[in-house]
């Protein structure tokens, strides 16, 4: 057998024997390989030569194919065509639409960046959000944004960030949104420092759920609720406020693109039906709220994997493990509420955030507990008053 020719002439027997000897030899300490080969290939010099050469190659083959991602990642980028232009950045002092003076960048994400700006007209600070040009450049974008913003503005609730205006800066060819400026940090930032104490997590959840309930009541589904767009406001009550309502829908001109892509959705939080191209409903937000609750109480999401998409595959294929697995102290009733919110079938979840809030309130330590205490206090006061009245009545008569 010559080594230069393809080994198509080798019989299956030759081939498997060669590898059998190879594998035995590989498992041996280096010093013992040659003696082993001499024994194993006694009388078959060609085989001995083949395996010896393969063993040499084996030593040098470390790294030959070890890092496929090295060139695959680049190919994947190529596959996608030219990379999108970077997000245009604004600097402090820039003035947008002759009215909003940028003070500083607050953060940036998949859809755009957010800045703190001064509204020169009103002399008030606002949050100024830029939208990625490719989001805004799509057909019908203006109309759709206008419609969604219009809808979103109808929701006035302390737990929903107020949207002010949508406008285009013609010189920059970019759309901007202005909204309520909320001093504080995102829930994602807070969670990076570890899970919340259960009582605090439940308080945040209740507020987020209340905000969602108000929006659902107005017929609006968030569709991209994540810990990144819940803001914990630096005020006395540590109010939790949901931002970016309506934006996912507004930007979703091509349903398929958004669903297949991660252009707007955040795969770590997308509900199974979103991942599978189904329609989003209030139950979709309920799922995301379930994930938030899970994350706040357990300090992690129910599924973790090397990539967000591998985790997404798990969310679609497997039921979520109980949060009590990671947080045994969690009240079983709370755990049940979270698990129900995370049902894969939207029909099995709470119908909307309102129903979830009600369920949360039922559990011990929830609002229901406080209400009972209030009622008890009230009853006591009334009885005391009645007693007082009864006692004073004869004296008065």
């Amino acid at each position: 057998m010559t080594l230069d020719a393809p080994r198509e002439g080798a019989t299956a027997g030759d081939w498997s024997r060669m590898w059998s000897v190879f594998h035995h030899a590989v498992d041996l300490p280096a010093a013992e390989r040659a003696p082993y080969l001499a024994v194993a290939c006694a009388g078959d010099e060609e085989l001995r030569g083949q395996v010896a050469e393969l063993l040499d190659c084996h030593q040098q083959s470390e790294g030959l194919l070890d890092a496929p991602a090295r060139f695959l990642a680049e190919a994947a980028a190529e596959l996608a065509g030219a990379p999108l232009p970077p997000l245009p950045r604004l600097a402090a002092g820039d003035v947008v639409a002759s009215r909003f003076e940028v003070r500083r960048e607050l953060g940036s994400g998949g859809m755009g960046a957010v800045y703190e700006a001064l509204d020169r007209e009103l002399g008030a600070a606002v949050a100024l959000k830029t939208l990625r040009p490719e989001v805004a450049a799509r057909r019908d974008a203006r109309d759709r944004f206008r419609r969604e913003i219009h809808l979103a503005r109808r929701v006035t609730h302390p737990n929903v960030c107020r949207l002010f205006d949508l406008f285009y800066d013609d010189s920059r060819q970019l759309p901007f949104l202005t909204m309520e400026l909320l001093p504080g940090e995102t829930l994602a930032h807070r969670l990076a420092r570890g899970p919340l104490p259960v009582a605090e997590a439940l308080e945040v959840a209740r507020r987020v759920a209340a905000g969602l309930a108000a929006a659902h009541g107005a017929g609006i589904v968030h569709r991209d609720l994540t810990s990144g767009n819940v803001i914990l406001v630096d005020d006395r009550e540590r109010r939790a406020v949901i931002t970016d309502f309506g934006l996912a829908t507004a930007a979703d001109l091509d349903v398929r693109l958004t669903l297949s892509g991660t252009l707007l959705g955040t795969p770590s939080y997308m509900a199974p039906e979103q991942l599978q191209g189904g329609a989003a409903s209030p139950a979709t937000d309920v799922y995301a709220l379930g994930l938030l609750l899970y994350e706040m109480t357990c300090g992690r999401l129910p599924f973790t994997a090397a990539t967000p998409w591998a985790a997404a595959l798990q969310r679609v294929a497997q039921p979520a493990p109980s949060p009590r697995l990671h947080q045994p102290d969690l009240d079983p009733r709370w755990a049940a509420v979270i698990s129900r919110a995370l049902e894969r079938d939207p029909a099995s979840r709470h119908r909307d955030a309102g129903e979830l809030v009600a369920d949360l309130a039922e559990a011990p330590g929830g609002a229901e507990g406080r209400r009972r205490w209030l009622i008890a206090a009230l009853v006591t006061v009334v009885m005391a008053a009645a007693l007082l009245a009864a006692l004073s009545w004869p004296g008065g008569g």
Binding site: L3, D4, P6, R7, E8, A10, W15, W19, F22, H23, V26, E53, L54, L55, C57, H58, Q60, S61, L64, L65, P68, A69, R70, F71, L72, A73, E74, A75, A76, A77, E78, L79, A80, G81, P83, L84, G110, R132, E134, R256, L257, L259, S260, G261, T262, L263, P272, L275, Q276, G277, A306, T307, P308, W309, A310, A312, L313, V316, A317, R344
Partner: protein, 192 residues
């Protein structure tokens, strides 16, 4: 002719029509190409090119095309084989294209020799691996399959074992052997 994207059921049907050991259905490749391209494009809107993980793309394509329904083991195997084959074709076409451009520059031989050590070792390595892999495919399809899944679909040993219905240890052994064999074939190739 086609109206709209295929449903998970249609994709399942195509996968089921592929019999074991057969090359992935040609019908599936354009579909996967299209899907992978779209996914990659969407991801690039958020991520830097360096962070694009082909494994993630392949898993994402699986999810998109097949939904979360439980697939038969054979369907899973065929899907990942087809995805790996798609990625392989993309990579090879691209490497060939770049190489043709280099040839046009007229300094090809020098560049190739230097390239092996420094500049663009990937294209040269990739094309050599691919040629050797074709030989391996004829000699030992199962061993070649391990390489395809590991290298071109980016699957881990465990994932490849699952996709092939075999043990991780067996995949690991095949992987070791295939690497040694490919290395030898590449070394034996006449240079230039």
């Amino acid at each position: 002719m086609d109206s709209g994207p295929p449903t998970p059921r249609e994709v399942s049907a195509i996968l089921s029509s592929v019999s074991d050991g057969e090359a992935p259905a040609e019908r599936l490749l354009p579909l996967l190409y299209d899907e992978l391209r779209k996914l990659a494009r969407a991801r690039l809107a958020r991520e830097r090119p360096q962070s694009l993980q082909p494994t993630a793309l392949v898993h994402e394509a699986y999810l998109r095309l097949l939904g979360g329904e439980t697939q038969s083991f054979a369907n899973r195997a065929h899907f990942f084989a087809a995805a790996a084959e798609t990625m392989r074709r993309i990579l090879i076409d691209r490497a060939r294209h770049r190489r043709r451009q280099k040839r046009g520059g007229g300094r090809f031989a020098v560049e190739l020799e230097e390239g092996l050590l420094t500049e663009e070792p990937r294209d040269v390595e990739l094309l050599a691996v691919d040629r050797a892999l074709e030989g391996l495919q004829r000699q030992d399809p199962a061993m070649a399959q391990v390489v395809l899944l590991r290298v071109f679909a980016g699957l881990t040993v465990e994932e490849a074992a699952e996709a092939m219905g075999t043990s991780p240890r067996s995949v690991d052994r095949s992987w070791q052997a295939a690497r040694a064999w490919l290395r030898r074939e590449i070394e034996r190739e006449p240079k230039g």
